[in-house]
C-alpha cells in the first residue's frame, strides 16, 4: 500500500504541469459543450412545444437520434463528417459534438420545465392582455429556467465527464494525457487513478458552486 501511494505521488508530480494545461482544455470543451448545448436545447425545446407539426417533427427526430446513439459514435461521425466539408481543429470538432449531444438532453430539460409550469400562469398572463410571446418570455420561461437549473447543473457535470471521450479524435484533454502517460510509463493503474482524482475534484468543485447558486436562488424567491 505505501508503495502504491509513492507511485501515485510520483506520477502526480511528474505530470501535474501537463495535467493543468489539459484541465484547461477539458474545461473549455465542457464550457463550449454546455453553452452550445443550451442554445441548441432552447431552440429545440421551443420547436417541440410549438404549434407547428413540422417543427415538432424535426425536434423529435433530432432528440431521438441523439439520445439513441452513443456519444463516441457522434464524435467520430461529426469529426469525419464535418472535416470532409469544412476544415476545423480536432478541438472544435469535439466541442461541437459535445454541444450537439447536450442539445438533445437540454432540450428535454427545458421542455419538461416549461410544460411543468402551472397552466394557470399562462392563463393569468393571457387574461391580462399579454400575447403568447410576451407570456412565454416574461412569465413562463423565467419560471421554467429556475426549475431547469438543478438538472442543467447535473448535465454540466455529465458533460465534464463525457468530454473525456473526445480523446478518440486526439484532443489533448486530461483523459488523453492519462492515456498517453499510462502507455509511456507502464504505470497504467497509477495514471488512471490520478486522472480519476482530477475528475473527482473538478466535479466536487462544480457541485459545490452549483449548490451555492441554487441556495441563492431559493433565498431570492422567498
Amino acid at each position: 500500500m505505501p508503495d502504491l501511494f509513492v507511485d501515485v505521488f510520483d506520477v502526480f508530480m511528474r505530470t501535474y504541469q501537463g495535467f493543468l494545461e489539459a484541465t484547461v482544455v477539458t474545461l473549455e470543451l465542457t464550457a463550449i459543450g454546455v453553452v452550445l448545448g443550451t442554445v441548441i436545447g432552447l431552440i429545440f425545446a421551443l420547436m417541440k412545444i410549438s404549434g407547428s407539426k413540422i417543427l415538432r417533427g424535426i425536434a423529435n427526430i433530432y432528440i431521438t437520434v441523439i439520445r439513441g446513439t452513443p456519444l463516441i459514435v457522434q464524435i467520430m461521425f461529426l469529426y469525419f463528417g464535418i472535416v470532409e466539408i469544412y476544415t476545423m481543429s480536432n478541438f472544435w470538432a469535439g466541442a461541437i459534438a459535445l454541444g450537439v449531444h447536450n442539445g438533445a438532453y437540454i432540450a428535454e430539460i427545458f421542455r419538461g420545465a416549461i410544460q411543468g409550469i402551472d397552466p394557470g400562469q399562462r392563463e393569468a398572463s393571457l387574461s391580462l392582455g399579454m400575447n403568447r410571446k410576451q407570456t412565454m418570455q416574461r412569465i413562463v420561461f423565467p419560471q421554467a429556467l429556475r426549475r431547469s437549473i438543478p438538472p442543467l447543473g447535473n448535465q454540466f457535470i455529465i458533460t465534464l465527464k463525457d468530454s473525456s471521450l473526445v480523446y478518440i479524435i486526439g484532443v489533448a484533454e486530461i483523459f488523453s494525457l492519462a492515456n498517453r502517460e499510462a502507455a509511456q510509463s507502464y504505470q497504467a493503474f497509477e495514471s488512471f487513478l490520478v486522472v480519476a482524482l482530477y475528475y473527482l475534484v473538478l466535479v466536487m468543485i462544480f457541485t459545490f458552486l452549483l449548490r451555492l447558486y441554487e441556495n441563492k436562488l431559493d433565498v431570492d424567491k422567498a
Binding site: 398572463s125 391580462l128 392582455g129 399579454m130
Partner: protein, 240 residues
C-alpha cells in the same frame, strides 16, 4: 357591456354550453350560480377567449368579436379575470405582478406604472406588501393582489371565477369586501360564487346555470323568494 348570444361550447363529444344567452349591462353585477360541472367556468373563459366558442356570438362594449380575425390579446386586456387559485406570478414581487401588464402591453413608463400600482394596492389594502413575494402572502391577500393586477389594465368588465372558494373561511370576507367596493364604484362584473350573502347584497341579477343552459335569471329578491324552475328551488334549499 358584454353580451353572449346563443353560445355553444363542446369539449370533444361533451357539450358544455348549449346555447347560452347572457346580456350584462354596463355597471351591472351578475352573479352566476349552479352546481359543479354545470359550465360556469367555461362560460367565463369563453368571455375571455381562454376557450373558443363553437358557435354563437360575443359582443364586448358594442363590438362583436370575430376571434379568427382579431387580436385576442387586445380583447382580453379589456376583460379582467380573477381565478380561484389566484395565479399570481411567483417570480415577481406584489408590485411587479400588478405593473407587469401595463408595462408590457400598454408600454407604460415604469414610474407611471409604479404609481398606478401603488394606488391599486392601497385600494385593496396591501400597499405595505408591495415589495413582498406572493409566497409570503395569505390566500386572501393573494386574491386581493390578483384583483389589483386585473384592475391595472383598466378592464371594462371583470370576471370572477369562484374567487373565494380556495380561501380559509376567515379570509373570505376581506376579498368580498374589495369586490363589493368595486361594484359600488360601478364596475361591470360577472361573478361565479357560492357566497349567497354576497349575491343577495351586491348582485343586480342572479343567474342559475344548469347543464349548460340558463334556467333562471332574476333579481336577488325574486331569485330567492320566487324561483320559477324546480332545479333552482332545489339549489336554493341546498345552499340555505
Amino acid at each position: 357591456m358584454i353580451v353572449g348570444k346563443n353560445i355553444h361550447k363542446s369539449f370533444g363529444d361533451l357539450e358544455v354550453l348549449k346555447g347560452v344567452d347572457l346580456h350584462v349591462k354596463p355597471q351591472e353585477v351578475v352573479v352566476l350560480v349552479g352546481v359543479s360541472g354545470s359550465g360556469k367556468s367555461t362560460l367565463l373563459r369563453c368571455f375571455n377567449f381562454l376557450e373558443m366558442i363553437n358557435s354563437g356570438e360575443i359582443t364586448i362594449d358594442g363590438h362583436t368579436i370575430n376571434p379568427k380575425k382579431e387580436d385576442l390579446a387586445k380583447i382580453r386586456a379589456e376583460v379582467g379575470m380573477v381565478f380561484q387559485h389566484f395565479n399570481l406570478f411567483p417570480h415577481k414581487s406584489v408590485l411587479e405582478n400588478v405593473i407587469e401588464a401595463p408595462i408590457t402591453v400598454k408600454k407604460m413608463k415604469k414610474e407611471e406604472a409604479k404609481k398606478l400600482g401603488m394606488n391599486l394596492l392601497r385600494k385593496v389594502g396591501l400597499e405595505d406588501k408591495a415589495d413582498v413575494y406572493p409566497s409570503k402572502l395569505s390566500g386572501g391577500q393573494k386574491q386581493r393582489v390578483a384583483i389589483a393586477r386585473s384592475l391595472a389594465m383598466e378592464p371594462k368588465v371583470m370576471l370572477f371565477d369562484e374567487p373565494t372558494s380556495a380561501l380559509d373561511p376567515e379570509l373570505v370576507g376581506e376579498v368580498l369586501q374589495v369586490m363589493k367596493q368595486l361594484a359600488e364604484e360601478g364596475m361591470t362584473m360577472v361573478v361565479v360564487t357560492h357566497e349567497m350573502k354576497f349575491a343577495k347584497e351586491v348582485a343586480d341579477r342572479i343567474i342559475m346555470i344548469d347543464q349548460g343552459t340558463i334556467i333562471e335569471s332574476a333579481d336577488p329578491k325574486n331569485f330567492f323568494e320566487n324561483p320559477q324552475n324546480e332545479r333552482t328551488k332545489q339549489f336554493i334549499q341546498l345552499v340555505e
